[in-house]
Amino acid sequence: MSTHDSSSADDGGLVQLLLPDGERIADAGYDKWVADVDDDQLKSLYEDMVVVRRIDTEATALQRQGELGLWPPLIGQEAAQIGSGRTLRQDDFVFASYRENGVAYCRGVEYTDLLRVWRGHTHSGWNPYDINMAPSQVIIGSQTLHATGYALGCQQDGVDTVAISYFGDGATSQGDPNEAMVFAASFQAPVIFFCQNNQWAISEPVGLQARAPIASRAPGFGIPSMRVDGNDVLAVMAATRIALDRARSGNGPTYIEAVTYRMGPHTTSDDPSRYVDVLEREGWQAKDPISRLEAYLQSRGLLTDEFTGRVNATADDVAAKVREGCLGLEPPEPLSVFDHVYSEPTSWLERQKDEYVQYLQTFEGGQ
């Protein structure tokens, strides 16, 4: 295990394998965890990041055009989400917040399923068991406990499946993630706490939530932590693999703080111009996760016109499917408001539904 593994937070260090200008630097502790990443995989990671950014752009446009009620952009966080999401096994289970569209993409979500929630059709875009990913969690930090419980179940089942929870810097102030760390440490649950520190909780800077590096909290709970450059897809991948390996081999939880930046608004309803300093944003723009990998590919002679042309065509094709899928979504039937409150309808709810059916029938063309 790397010496950075649990001490990096204490010295404020940041695990990096790709510098912002695309230079690949050696790290004795982390290199071996991405030693198998060949040229094709690097190109594949690049394509993933370009495509999820394109989905993000398209969804934001759909919101601006009135087709979605809301959208939480992930722009800037592609490396954190693709780097971690691509290391998971299909049987691992993801408990994320609402911004992990890149992770959902890695899980194989249908594009239209990404949008149903934001078009107001449902509270969960997909069946969680189809892609082993829980629906978006809106209550901040709540899902950290669910991941811990799921991991306890995996432990009881005697399998090496891992649960991973994604949350943001704002969530670290909530009780649930702290209780989750207590439970995970006590039972040595095979769970990964993946904090995307994107510097902002809507308008509140991370300094309001944490006076010390977030990753430095976990060791106090008895959980080893890593603080990685969240815009460095290789560093994120290496850290996640270290955590997965620890969990799969029965050595308990790991905490990863991926230091990144929310380049867009909190959601499409937000106006960051009221609180984000332009210079700060420009500083982070220079550390962009996609242009960084692009520079690295360039330095290796992999960024050919043919390749970028193909990636852009794929992204455009996905965007078109996102748009088409969104516009083709059928709104839910009115009476489905009563469905699935309980596993079987109760007499009380049946009565309420019956009365509403009668009420609707009083309208011309009513149900």
């Binding site: 069946n127 811990t148 409150v341």
Partner: protein
């Protein structure tokens, strides 16, 4: 059939649930080695192991939240909340997650949690140990809320709750833990369903509706009323969400008078829901406005004051007199 306390009846029900389904797990504070502060889980960790009867860290949100994750994984967690007044740190997980996940996921994710809560007063306890928070949960769609009043129901209802695919808030009347009764440990087609009410004393003049710890008090009140020639029918609701309104309606259509009694405060409570629903559906059968006999709308008082706060036999009889238009404490007052 064997004679056992209500506490023991839950214990034997949990034992059967653990035997019947390997996915059943018990979680809570002090439930393992100690067997729970009320000894409801006594001996279960010894017999089923620490992986199935888990002592947890002292964090109610943690208990409920990890149980949610276990349920995602296919387990049936039974969570013990040590005392009613300690449930609030777990309230967020119960309301925002446990109650809503089945609905949120269009039925894909089942949340078969049972959350056991010793509740109610009458044991001379310090603050936060005597509360009746059931209305908060009954108000929340997606939760089933039940309360047992006797050893037989305690045994069968806890097993039904654990087997239920919905989350069940299981309120245990802590001052009746030591009540003894005969318990048949076989569940058959004749066993009443968990959401049915029971008529525990038949009568013709007044319907007295209650649940949990006050069922015994209400039965005593019915006996006392009969000495004065008033026939009181006592209904043990057993389920507070959903409520078996068919049973209550049938009774009120017969008696024409309704009194609801519970330890919980009055405002916005179970009694209000029953009074409103029954008034609407039985309006032309009613001989008097429905009455409520409840704890006052005050925080639960100190032990030396709790006998004033808790509905007792005499306050129930006073309400019976009101709906019977007999002389009562408010006679001569308007409204």
């Amino acid at each position: 059939m064997s004679s056992m306390t209500l506490s023991r009846a839950i214990n034997s029900g949990l034992r059967r649930a653990l035997e019947d389904d390997p996915k059943v797990l018990l979680m809570g504070e002090d439930i393992g080695t100690l067997g729970g502060v009320f000894r409801v889980t006594d001996g279960l960790q010894k017999d089923f192991g620490a992986h199935r009867v888990m002592d947890t860290p002292l964090a109610e949100a943690g208990i409920i939240g990890t149980a949610v994750g276990l349920a995602y994984r296919g387990y049936r967690p039974v969570c013990e909340i040590q005392f009613d007044g300690f449930i609030y740190p777990g309230f967020d997980q119960i309301i925002t997650q446990v109650a809503k996940l089945h609905y949120r996921t269009g039925g894909a994710v089942k949340m078969p949690l049972t959350i056991r809560v010793p509740f109610g007063g009458g044991i001379g306890a310090v603050e936060h140990h005597s509360e009746s928070p059931e209305a908060y949960f009954a108000h929340t769609a997606g939760l089933r809320v039940v309360s047992c009043s006797n050893p037989q129901d305690a045994h069968t209802m806890i097993r039904q709750a654990v087997a239920c695919d919905d989350p069940v808030m299981f309120f245990e009347p802590k001052r009746r833990y030591w009540t003894k009764g005969e318990v048949d440990e076989e569940i058959t087609g004749q066993t009443p369903s968990i959401d049915s009410a029971a008529i525990v004393a038949a009568g013709d003049d007044v319907t007295l509706v209650t649940y949990g710890p006050l069922v015994a008090t209400a039965r005593d009140a019915a006996i006392a009323a009969s000495d004065e020639g008033v026939s009181v029918e006592v209904i043990d609701l057993r389920s507070l969400s959903p409520i078996d309104f068919a049973t209550v309606e049938a009774s009120v259509r017969k008696t024409g008078r309704l009194v609801v009694t519970h330890e919980a405060s009055q405002f916005g409570g179970i009694g209000a829901e029953i009074a409103a629903s029954i008034t609407r559906r039985c309006f032309y059968y009613l001989e008097a406005a429905p009455e409520r006999v409840t704890g006052f709308d005050v925080p639960y008082p100190a032990a030396e004051l709790e006998d004033h706060h808790l509905p007792d036999l005499d306050r129930m009889l006073d309400a019976v007199d009101r709906v019977m238009d007999r002389h009562n404490s408010l006679s001569g007052r308007e409204g």
